[in-house]
């Protein structure tokens, strides 16, 4: 059994269950997923930032919406930061393996 950490992560993501061979599809898909997530997180952070600016301008129509979008941005950001940390850990584990 080849322990391929990238494939293990990719297998749990619903949109990547393609049913084809792992090595061909999983690695570029994971990169795509990560890129998508970074873009999505960026959008969420910008949206939250817009909400805060509008709040400062006195447009208080939906205070709870501003809070919710702030929280969504924070969670999304935390997700990709943790994914990055885990990837780094895995890489360091690999590097530490004596040949």
């Amino acid at each position: 059994m080849s322990i391929d950490p990238v494939t293990m992560v990719a297998a749990t993501l619903p949109e990547l269950r393609t049913g084809t061979t792992h090595n061909e599809v999983a690695q570029p898909s994971f990169t795509d997923w990560l890129t998508q997530q970074v873009a999505a997180t960026n959008d969420l952070v910008i949206q939250a930032d817009d909400g805060v600016r509008k709040l400062a301008l006195g447009e208080t129509d939906n205070l709870h919406q501003v809070m919710i979008s702030l929280e969504k941005a924070k969670l999304s950001f935390e997700l990709i930061v943790q994914v990055r940390n885990k990837l780094l850990d895995a890489y360091q584990d690999l590097m530490r393996m004596s040949i």
């Binding site: 208080t60 205070l63 709870h64 809070m67 919710i68 702030l70 929280e71």
Partner: protein
Amino acid sequence: MNMFAAFDISAAGMNLERTRLDVAAVNLANANTTQGPDGQVFKPLRVVAHPNAAYTFDMMLNGMQRLATGSATAFSVVVEPDDAPPRLVYEPGHPDANEKGFVAYPNISPVSEMVKLIGITRAYEANVRAMNIAKSMALKALEIGGDR
């Protein structure tokens, strides 16, 4: 709905209750007077309040209205005298008695004015409570996402 509108609405309600309180107090104070400076018996006052036509419930729900308290008001309040005939009391020696010996007093029932005061107090408290709750809700919304 605009967070600020909730406070303005309750403030308008409280204002209305204040006006009604003043009117009830004036009525009570004048309950035993006879003639005013113009020779007329004091006419009991009444508050008539209408919601402003421009300020409808739909607009409130769509968040389109931000009331500036004091300028665009939620109610148009009119204080008008009541045309009820005066109460005649037989007091022959009174300086204001008419030729038959009756003195005209305003047609004010202190009991009903006091009952109105109770209603006014409760309405005022209700408005204050609504405002406090609006504030709590807004502050609770700030707690979305926990303490971090």
